[in-house]
Point group: C2
Chain length 336, copies 2
DNA sequence: GTGAAAGCGCTAACAT
DNA sequence: ATGTTAGCGCTTTCAC
């Protein structure tokens, strides 16, 4: 069995008490230099590492933070995680990543598990399926620090970071209009997600600003958020077989953008006929054919800001009551 | 502060001893039905959840397994993780994911941290930078169960799963030959990785089998494994500016395949001029332009097999001494 | 300057 | 059928 050296082992070997060893190891002021040296040297020799499990139990503090996201396979999230870890590790925190696969139940199980594992705080981007946040609210009321990023919820008052989804959607839609398109459809993610609403609102505003009609029949929702390709293809096909069909599509979610590109290809539509622009953070969007204009979010930076906020919350001496919501700019990349 | 109910709380409230409560909760045979009901009901009421930290400390068993991979952003790995989790969760295990970003030091820190956290076992795909495996070997000798997948090492005798890299590379190279190419270059990952060698060997065999010369000057290594685009572009440019330049490139690593596609685009080469085929697991390879034939690994399945092996190791009643290495077929997807 | 003892939440021998 | 005790590895009063 794998059995690392413990403080007790060291104490025994050196004929000291465990408490002395503990203090020496953590450079306690009361311990003589001599003893410290002795202990540190021996600890080094037997490759002693403090046991985080025991520490967690003792201190109710684990120096680990839990990350709750829908899917790792979504580039936006893997980029955000890189941002989170870049700071968390530097500050001595360990990260535990869990994915919900957009399932509310799995998300709940993950969050509960993390809470039990006594993570010091939670970084959450909510699943598309989730609708009941009472357990999260209870956890928050119980004092569990949490920060929401990208997909936030209104029900809980805490720090949040998102992108300027409205403006990003506005810009993308506007670019289609400026390219001469007049009948722009919207392909969106689950209708109750915060980001879906914000992006739809930006889309709508662009239409209105440019004197174009906002048509309900031009909107299609993919509730599985693009993780089911067929759902996306059906939606695209639905749009493109309309008697009065759109000449462009704005797609308001990452994975659906990819699905839409594939659908155009499979349905043999050309982007000359039907232009597309959508949110996408994959690092290969610019290489896709059919081509797509895309709105890119500052994922890495968002991760960094989120963890900074969480650490502020965790390490605060006094309870924080004033919460900020940071909104990051997006970048529009036009095709050609 | 967030403070969940403990067994002691329940015992106090019900005027029982902690051990009775503990036994009742775990349906111990010695406890009367009546008491059980009482305890379970109360536990339910106060939303009692056992504390995994305390359990880990007590049992030296955490029901969690550590995953060590180079990068989350690599589709192959996120797919493998999905496979791992699909089984781990079902069997009641929690997964902790860490990425090394191909850094040997980060990898070592991650592994040590996981070991300290008393994970029950490790699922490892080695970083490209790693070369010293003595600490891993020591950990293994100490009894830490581990299984290697995809990027394995010979130094440690345990269960392993990989793809048939040699055959995959052979098939891809062969497809280029059959398409009429005669001067096929090799763009490879770090030269000491197990997979790099296997794939190079398959590439070489195809050349030999078809009577083509194996040319050292047609081989380029990207030691950063495609995570540094410039390195890839430089390599591609190097090949394509040779006096006697190749008419095709076989790429032996996932991220480098993507980098090569981008390089061809940036350097304005067409795949009519220079055909490419490479290992790639991204779910959008087939949509890329310039187009690329690709070898896909069974990532999800590999993850599933790896975790099955690890659980076998963890849950074994008697020490296992006979280790299997599973080799999975790859799928070749031709362009057009 | 160092040691003894208690306790974090839980379980398992060992009483009763 | 239930309670007592000790201990997992660590820290932290409180003694000396």
């Amino acid at each position: 069995m794998y059995k690392p050296a413990t403080i007790k082992d060291i104490a025994l070997a050196l004929n000291l008490s465990p408490s002395t060893v503990s203090r020496a190891l953590r450079d306690g002021y009361e311990i003589s230099e001599e003893t410290k040296k002795l202990v540190v040297a021996y600890a080094q020799k037997v490759n002693y590492k403090s046991n985080p499990i025991a520490l967690s139990l003792k201190n109710k503090r684990s120096y680990s933070i839990g990350i709750v996201i829908p899917r790792l396979a979504n580039s936006f999230f893997s980029q955000a995680i890189a941002g989170i870890e870049s700071i968390a590790h530097e500050r001595g925190y360990f990260t535990i990543i869990t994915q919900s696969h957009e399932s509310a139940e799995r998300e709940r199980a993950n969050i509960n598990h993390l809470a039990q594992r006594s993570v010091d705080g939670l970084l959450i981007s909510i699943s598309s399926e989730a609708s009941d946040f009472s357990f999260l609210k209870a956890l928050h009321d119980d004092g569990m620090p949490m920060v929401f990023f990208d997909r936030t919820i209104d029900e809980i008052d805490t720090f949040k970071v998102t992108s300027d989804n409205r403006k990003g959607a506005y810009n993308a839609t506007e670019s289609l209009i400026k390219a001469g398109k007049r009948k722009i459809a919207l392909l969106a993610s689950a209708s109750h997600l915060s980001i879906t609403n914000e992006r739809r609102s930006g889309y709508q505003k662009a239409l209105v600003d440019y004197g174009l009609p906002f048509r309900e029949d031009f909107i299609r929702y993919c509730n599985e958020g693009g993780n089911n390709y067929q759902e996306v293809e059906d939606a695209v096909k639905g749009l493109l077989t309309m008697a009065d069909k759109p000449d462009a599509i704005f797609i308001s979610a990452d994975r659906i953008s990819i699905g839409c590109v594939r659908a155009l290809k499979n349905l043999s539509f050309d982007t000359k006929e039907i232009a597309i622009a959508g949110f996408a953070n994959s690092d290969v969007v610019d290489l896709l054919q059919p081509s797509i204009s895309y709105v890119k979010q500052k994922s890495f930076e968002m991760g960094q800001i989120a963890i900074e906020m969480l650490l502020k919350l965790i390490e605060a001496k006094y309870p924080i009551t004033e919460f900020e919501t940071r909104v990051l700019d997006t970048e529009l990349h036009l095709v050609q």
